[in-house]
Symmetry: C2
Subunit: 292 residues, 2 copies
């Protein structure tokens, strides 16, 4: 396959997809829409994939993310840890001779089973671009945040934390929902929440205090930021205790990376941010170099 002449890289998640035209011989282009895996009807993937080629060109294609899950197009079974570029490349699932689905990574362990699908490419991409070292701690914040310990250039172990999903559930459906309108920002209330969590306050108790303060007349606080601080602070405290001191590479959306960076700093750690889309494309590029 002559990937260098041009190909399409697709990051296809549960609720949206991003498709990029890549390669030296083609002008770059991309689009993003809300046709996530869950919105594709049964049997609808061939047409949804054909649409991508109609928009970006009749090119070879690599797809990553939930498109390779059992709710996606074709299941691309997980590669076991430790997993690096070579292990992932070897397990690409070929739908036809120019269309491949990138596998996720699994930690097969009785005590700490875990899975990722999509984040592995960003970790590999950040490494390939020299943005993280071969031994590194990566945080990939999101609905299900991943903490990834890289060793000798491979994903050695990782841990998922449901921080983003719980934040969304609280904001949409909980007794705190009325108070949590608006986005979380990294101001004083966020920092207060992080400090509460770093001080060892149980998560589900610190969250209820947002409600208690309002009932007791201190209703002026920014509840979304406070809740975000409690949740992220709790996660950061546990991760730094588990993985030890590291300069954490935070890969993801810039606004969310900023919140995690602030929490890591309050916990006495150091961090730097890497744009998630850039890391994804770097990962796809390094994958095509191995598949060449």
């Amino acid at each position: 396959m002559h990937w260098r002449e041009g190909y399409i890289a697709v990051d296809w998640g549960t609720t949206n997809r991003r498709a990029y035209r890549m390669g030296a011989a083609q002008s770059s282009a991309m689009f993003e829409d809300d046709k996530g895996v869950m919105s594709v009807p049964p049997g609808g993937f061939p047409q949804a994939v054909a649409e991508i080629r109609q928009r970006l060109g009749d090119l070879p294609m690599l797809l990553a993310g939930m498109v390779g899950s059992n709710r996606g197009w074709h299941a691309a079974p997980y590669v076991a840890c430790p997993a690096g570029l070579d292990e992932i490349a070897a397990k690409v699932r070929w739908v036809d001779d120019r269309t491949g689905i990138v596998p996720g990574v699994a930690q097969r362990s009785a005590s700490s089973p875990d899975v990722m699908r999509g984040e592995e490419l960003q970790a590999i991409g950040a490494l390939a671009d020299g943005l993280v070292a071969a031994d590194a701690l990566i945080c990939h914040p999101g609905t299900h945040t991943k903490w990834i310990a890289m060793k000798a250039g491979r994903i050695e172990t990782f841990r998922t934390v449901m921080t983003g999903e719980i934040f969304a559930l609280l904001a949409a459906h909980s007794i705190l929902a009325d108070a949590m309108r608006g986005q979380a920002t990294g101001g004083a209330q966020f920092a207060a929440g992080v400090r509460e969590a770093l001080g060892g306050e149980p998560l589900l108790s610190a969250l209820f205090r947002i409600r208690a303060r309002r009932l007791l007349g201190d209703g002026a606080e920014d509840a979304a930021s406070r809740a975000s601080g409690i949740l992220i602070g709790s996660e950061v405290a546990a991760a730094l205790a588990e993985f030890g001191p590291h300069r954490v590479a935070v890969i993801g959306r810039p606004a969310l990376c900023k919140l995690y960076g602030a929490a890591i700093e309050l916990a006495g750690g150091e961090s730097f941010s890497i744009d998630g889309a850039d890391a994804f494309l770097a990962g796809m590029t390094s994958l095509t170099e191995v598949l060449e």
Copy 2:
């Protein structure tokens, strides 16, 4: 007021209400329905209260629970900790000369603000019935579980944990919802979840493993029980660490008391159960004796 000749005690919560006819000179009777505070339309409380008297008799009435909140009939402001029977009785809000609303209890503290409304009566009732000592640790499991430290017969401090609400959110709306059908039971999966939490696993990480195990092919586990064990185990570990060794009085619905009792035992503690409805009525009885 001659409470002994007969009165009505109402436990009026957010989503349902229970009303009891009490007193030596009257036969006892009760009803329960789903006319919780949130279902009463604006201005509808006088009629909703009149209905209770139509069903149980034209008697003096004491009401407790969310009916005294700012979403209820009339706000009965919180009594500050430490609070015992006398402090609560002194702050009953009289709507008319035979209809009173029992106040909740507040912990006014910059670092650990907290509120309860309804649970205080059960704690006072368990004490009045001699079921708990004047110095005791009470756990009141529910949507917002309360851990109450009693000292010299008064509520000295307490802590709310949103365990029940988070369990309900996970079961209804999360990525675990499909797996969490059915009630949590106190079997092997519950115990495994408790042990995971007691071992120090971060809550939101242990919960995700339920998902990971299913994706990795171990789909047979009872996810509702496992999630319940993780949540309750996490709560019990923190409470026993905070309040020290105690024989915990667990007051509430029998099925839920049983789960908490099992978790406390796995944590190396001891507990015994008290029926929540019995404790509520004992609290109301001791309150009428002070109000006499």
